[in-house]
Symmetry: C2
Amino acid sequence: MDDDDIRHNQPASHKVFGEAQAILAGDGLQALAFHIISSDPLVHSSTKIKLLELLSSSSYAMAEGQSIDLSVVSKKVDLNVLDQMHQKKTGALLNCAIKFGALLTDASEKDLSILELFSNHVGLAYQVQDDVLDVTTSDEVLGKRQNSDAVKNKPSYPAIIGLDKSIKTFENLYQGALDELSHLSVDAEPLRLLTKRLMKRAF
Amino acid sequence: MDDDDIRHNQPASHKVFGEAQAILAGDGLQALAFHIISSDPLVHSSTKIKLLELLSSSSYAMAEGQSIDLSVVSKKVDLNVLDQMHQKKTGALLNCAIKFGALLTDASEKDLSILELFSNHVGLAYQVQDDVLDVTTSDEVLGKRQNSDAVKNKPSYPAIIGLDKSIKTFENLYQGALDELSHLSVDAEPLRLLTKRLMKRAF
């Protein structure tokens, strides 16, 4: 099986059910997410609208990021394009998930901006770390083939700025995320613990 | 090019941009639909929620219907399964489009139920008619290959109940749709004209 066929050491959905059914499951799940929010009996309409606006723009960004991802294969791209791609492909929905909690508890505008910065840092850190792990970790630990980026001709941080600078970059980004949390007006311990756990991922 | 590669005599998106980019465009457009509604500045939050609930359940049904469609290829199915598949695959979103107008103008519950029956009739009529046209119309008029259902081993109304009974069925369904409109409390002339235009499609 190709690296794309494995998720967490398990065969991917498209391998088990076929590509068409797997894509349709994704389409259905996207619609289901909007249905779960819009039909929730406990959340106020005006809050639901904020959640749905954020989820829809983030989902759109994810599709856009994935489209960029496809278009840069085998191309020489600069760091800026790689950052943008990751921000859209995974950062937007991570940002969405983090802001959902804040919106559901009527957080202040200031806390929302801090959380936005926090999630941008964590999201990018996670991606740079992913690229680093792809080069440094064994297949077994990673749950997918090592060096899959290079094999698939996908641009990566280590390929553009080197391994050492990539490690330094994601460590700094995680630290930046932790720094942002200290400015929140509310208890940030759970997010701090989550961030520290992510930092140590498989190292 | 295969029949699936042509839409209205033009090459389909997946033919022009590749399958992956075409699928992503679909994902992006689905998200965009939810964003357009949720971010509209003129519609009241409680109405938006009704629209979004309906759009999400209809989109989910569409994915489900398409999944059924894939699973019945080369299988013998009864009319009931075919009806259900079409109701989900195209009927649900047609119903959604028709009800959107009613919800945006605060239509009564009674009018909403009438429009639901109307759209169920029109939706199914359109599909049965499609199957009939697939057998009876030339490629040029249809914008795709004739007999594509049979070639692809897809169950169709003419294959199950015969051509004559299929024609009678869709004519009755369109007539049933027109009958429903006469019970509406408001002017139904535009929907009546649309229905009559659909009835005459390519005949």
